[in-house]
Symmetry: C2
DNA sequence: GCGATACATGCACACTTGTTCATGTATTCG
DNA sequence: CGAATACATGAACAAGTGTGCATGTATCGC
């Protein structure tokens, strides 16, 4: 589990995953969108693929990557919320007493 | 955002956060529960505190740490789901065709 | 078949990062 | 006050990791 977070912890890798949020993307598209070299992109894709975060789909002579699971989408979305509205809802379970 | 994921990406740090999921914990308790030295625990707590993932509360002569935000709780919960039932709900938006 | 395009992989290196040891600071009790 | 407990911090080092370069493999068009 820590390994999964760690994978999302690299800026380029996170950008790669973000690039795949809106649907399948080829390696070339990802590389361009992320602004990384093809080699680097492929290296990272390998890690993300091995960790089952992304899944490859052959499409002709290019390979397109997709989120392997929707949980990932949720995780990222929630984290975005956290960054945007840090304390939108600070208490959620049961903590009746407070200063 | 990548930095947040990166912080959760270290096993010890993740354990620390997990230890705080069920409520405030003192540094000593965390160190013991995680199985790390006091120094190491404090170092990690510093990072988590700086990143606004955890928040310290003075309680007498000990300091207790709490989740700063419930989004974090959600992120972790979702990630747990992902690990437990990888493909519980693979499609969430619109992808009608499958093998 | 051959060349070209699109992607993957191995290696090497610089740099970050987790950990430990030692020391510093704050709070409580006598 | 001083001693003790609980936590924080600084320096230093080993180990992991992201990146670039070069090269390897697969698919499409000719």
């Amino acid at each position: 589990m820590a390994e999964l977070f760690s994978l999302l912890g690299d800026p380029n890798r996170l950008r790669i995953v973000l690039a795949c949020l809106d649907g399948p993307r080829s390696v070339g598209e990802i590389a361009e969108e992320v602004g990384a070299s093809q080699s680097l992109t492929s290296h990272h894709l390998r890690l993300l693929r091995t960790a089952r975060l992304l899944r490859p789909e052959r499409a002709g002579r290019s390979v397109r990557y997709v989120l392997d699971d929707d949980h990932v989408r949720d995780v990222i979305r929630t984290m975005v919320s956290h960054v945007c509205d840090p304390h939108e809802h600070r208490d959620g379970e049961a903590r009746p007493d407070h200063p």
